[in-house]
Amino acid sequence: MTRITVNGQLLDIDAAPDTPLLWVLRDHLAMTGTKYGCGMALCGACTVHVDGVASRSCILPLRLLEGKSITTIEGLSHGRSHPLQRAWIELDVPQCGYCQSGQLMTAAALLNLNPAPTDADIDAAMAGNICRCGTYRRIRQAVHRAAQTMTDERAPSDPQS
């Protein structure tokens, strides 16, 4: 048994310790928003947050995750309310959509660290997430838009402003 927290829920997982987190999420927990793309941390489709850090779940064995807190696309927000999800919808970013869970999780980790990324910051952070449909330009636009939204929505409650 390995005890992990997934999207705020404490869970005991009965799976072989070498099982990658990706397959724990998909097969054991039926959370299929996280995708399999390469199995070698090359494409980013499986990106989740582990203790807040964007991580490739396809190469993370369960035995390394005892006590860790994991956030998946299903836990990114309630009702698609994360500014990134709203921007993704406003700009119609996805095409086939398969890689977009990973794109969103990588972008969310970026904005947590860097609330006002430049084009170069976005490109550097997102370079590990392949999109064969080529949605890269809209992804960049949407990350900028979400960053702006987060700044705008933070502003009124900021006592400095």
């Binding site: 097969d27 990114l76 086939c96 869970s101 370079a127 064969r132 949605t135 992804i139």
Partner: protein, 713 residues
């Protein structure tokens, strides 16, 4: 449930297919009449007004989309066509994947097939007509209820109303409307009256694609479902000679190890268990005929056949041989194209649930009938006993026009009497693709004393996709001469020929199919001819496009937008033009070559795809095609050694990443031509545009791809 009123009879279908000019893929055309699944209205829980439309009493409207959604936007564009005439709000629509059915045949493709970038073309009249007929039937039902003349009633916003203050929702009218006669000869809206068509609308599938809820084949969940991994022969075409499964069978979670026609399958409670047990199989392979096959051999056999001069003539006009002989300058060149992998983000997978007397198949497929047939054959059922549930597709690009990943899942489900989801790993996917065929293309041109093109000849040598995918085809050319058969430049003496040469491994349709190799050759060679004529590549082309105003227009516009003739210091431009999928488009690549390092700074693309349905999707598809074309042009190459594919994952098969994206300027220049395809054409122009820019920068002409093989990218 009423019978779909607009179902195309097989006879009418054959007649129309013949009229469509012979590009009939005919992948599977058995008797379809008794294979329509009666699931449509029942699944949606309402009244079925036609094959595409079910309206429930609560006003929810289900539209059955008969093309597979793989990113190209059919789950939005096709409902828009129907909604335009039905007078409903797009946001209210629930999209349902259509089952197998006669009504759902793509006429030009000759089957229920999503391919050839023609989903909108096929649906353009059909779905608007279906919407208009349903609207008239709803009005008739309301008029009957109110005992008034239908002419007094109007439909708008999902309601029928009249001037006396009566109003009923479509939900209230649907049951009665479904019993009304289907009107004939309905008049469709003029373009000027379109509410939705031609105006950017939000994609209906976007929300589910930002929260993980969108269901792809990989995500199907069924009670009691098991998982399977498949081990295929590492040498393409090989077979299992013998196997020792004793260790694998004892591993945790393993339910069954079975030999199938596709290779060894391990069924387990979880996929990771299946993968680990698969690694423990001790298989001896009979490698078969390909054990000596390598890249040098593939290109050598293409060269040999190409030089035999025993070609089939696809087009011949004037007297090319004589014109080349008498030309002032003649030019000859040979171009070579590599094998490519589709590398869809979602690897091949299929979930099958074989029960007594039937099979449910859950699969991301571009060919519902062929999927049904493949599953039926593997299960020992008749096709009509197989229900095909089409899921969202995590990248098709033509890969899912093949059904090679279906039978093993069906065989496994049958063996264990439970639903089985069989998943290919990325390595399985890349080493067992149906690859974009390689080609050798010999091209010649003749110029007169004024530098005008007087003769042009192209001889293509490559394997045939269609001969494998559709053995019954009678068209020896099919896709192989694409773009070349629409060569837009005015030339009095023209010949286009083809020699089929198989290479021992399966080749398949890949996004833009033969447009990509042929556009690379045609547009690169246009620049070679322009250089020989001492003319600017733009002017040289425009002189030959006098009879093609649409082509000349997009080419000029692309050149203007890209700053043709005004490139900044150190930057160089190259252009390409193409007509494909009835769309006309031009691209300009802006590059620099610095110390042998190529950088693509910008791609400008001007597109005339006729009448657009959803411009925001058109734009995204053109961008998508450019990115796909960039990956292929810069790095795309599958190589074979000892019959094994040497690329296995994204570390050895490089594709474009976000930090490598050039600036994109996509300009939509629609016309009043009928809707043209948008999913595929933009792919094909990228390589020639870049290679022409490389020539402008370095004087070096690249006659093979990828560009990286020339030490540049």
């Amino acid at each position: 449930v009423s019978v779909p009123p607009i179902a195309i009879s097989r006879r009418a279908f054959c007649k129309r297919s013949a009229a469509a000019g012979g590009l009939v893929l005919a992948m599977t055309l058995p008797a379809l009449g008794d294979r329509s699944e009666p699931r449509t209205a029942a699944a949606a829980g309402g009244s079925q007004l036609n094959a595409w439309l079910v309206i429930a009493p609560d006003n929810s409207i289900s539209i059955f989309v008969d093309r597979s959604e793989m990113g190209q936007g059919v789950y939005t564009a096709l409902p828009m066509l129907l909604a335009e005439e039905l007078e409903i709000d797009l946001a209210k629509i629930k999209v349902v994947a259509a089952p197998v059915g006669d009504a759902y045949i793509n006429v030009a493709n000759g089957g229920q097939i999503t391919g050839t970038s023609n989903s909108v073309q096929d649906a353009w009249e059909k779905l608007r007509t279906a919407g208009a007929q349903a609207r008239i039937m709803l009005i008739a039902a309301a008029a009957a209820r109110w005992r008034v003349d239908p002419a007094e009633c109007r439909a708008a916003n999902g309601r029928v109303a009249n001037a006396r203050g009566n109003a009923l929702t479509y939900g209230e009218l649907a049951a009665a409307a479904a019993r009304m006669p289907v009107p004939k000869g309905v008049k469709l809206k003029a373009a000027a009256d379109f509410r939705l068509i031609g105006k950017s609308q939000p994609r209906l599938d976007t929300p589910s694609k930002v929260d993980g809820s969108a269901e792809y084949g990989l995500d199907v969940k069924l009670p009691g479902m098991l998982y399977a991994a498949l081990e295929q022969s590492p040498v393409l075409g090989g077979k299992v000679a013998s196997v020792d499964a004793a260790t694998a069978e004892k591993m945790p979670g393993v339910r069954r190890v079975l030999q199938t026609a596709s290779g060894m399958v391990v069924v387990a409670e979880h996929f990771w268990q299946a993968l680990k047990a698969r690694a423990a199989l001790k298989i001896t392979w009979d490698p078969g005929a390909n054990v000596q096959l390598d890249n040098a051999g593939i290109h050598a056999v293409l060269k040999q056949t190409s030089e035999k001069n025993q070609a089939l003539v696809a087009k011949n006009r004037g007297d090319v041989a004589a014109a080349l002989k008498s030309a002032k300058h003649t030019l000859e060149a040979v171009y070579e194209l590599p094998l490519l992998a589709h590398a869809t983000m979602e690897p091949m997978n299929c979930t099958a649930d074989v029960k007594a007397g039937g099979c449910d198949l859950y699969v991301g497929t571009q060919v519902q009938q062929a999927a049904q047939e493949a599953a039926a054959a593997a299960a020992g059922l008749s096709p009509k006993q197989v229900n095909v549930h089409t899921t969202l597709i995590g990248g098709g690009f033509g890969r899912r026009l093949d059904v090679d990943f279906i039978p093993a899942a069906v065989e496994a489900s049958k063996a264990v009497a439970a639903p089985v989801k069989l998943i290919w790993t990325r390595e399985d996917d890349m080493t067992h693709d149906t690859y974009r065929p390689p080609a050798r293309e010999a091209v010649s041109g003749g110029l007169d004393a004024s530098g005008k093109l007087v003769a042009w000849m192209l001889h293509i040598t490559s394997p045939s996709i269609t001969a494998r995918a559709s053995p019954s085809t009678t068209d020896p050319f099919d896709s192989v001469v694409e773009y070349a058969d629409h060569y837009p430049y005015g030339v009095p003496n023209f010949a286009l020929t083809y020699s089929r040469q198989e290479i021992g491994i399966d080749v398949g349709y890949m996004r833009s199919v033969s447009h990509a190799p042929n556009c690379f050759v045609i547009e690169s060679f246009m620049d070679e001819l322009a250089a020989a004529a001492s003319k600017n590549p733009l002017d040289f082309r425009l002189e030959l496009l006098a009879a093609k105003p649409r082509h000349a227009h997009v080419l000029k516009l692309a050149a203007e937008r890209a700053g043709w003739g005004r490139a900044a210091a150190g930057r160089h431009l190259g252009l390409a033009l193409m007509e494909g999928y009835t769309t006309v488009l031009a691209q300009v690549a802006e590059i620099s070559v610095d110390g042998g390092e190529l950088k693509v700074h910008k791609i400008t693309c001007v597109v005339d795809c006729g009448q657009m349905v959803n411009p925001r999707i058109v734009e995204s598809q053109i961008e998508s095609g450019i990115v796909f074309g960039l990956s292929a042009a810069l790095w795309g190459e599958i190589t074979v050694s000892g019959g094994r594919v040497q690329q296995t994952n994204f570390n050895t098969y490089r594709v474009l990443r976000s930090n490598e994206l050039p600036e994109l300027d996509v300009h939509l220049s629609p016309s009043d031509a009928p809707p043209g395809g948008i999913g595929e054409p933009a792919v094909a122009l990228v390589a020639p545009a870049i290679c022409n820019a490389i020539f402008a920068a370095t004087g070096k002409r690249l006659r093979s791809l990828p560009i990286s093989a020339h030490g540049l990218a």
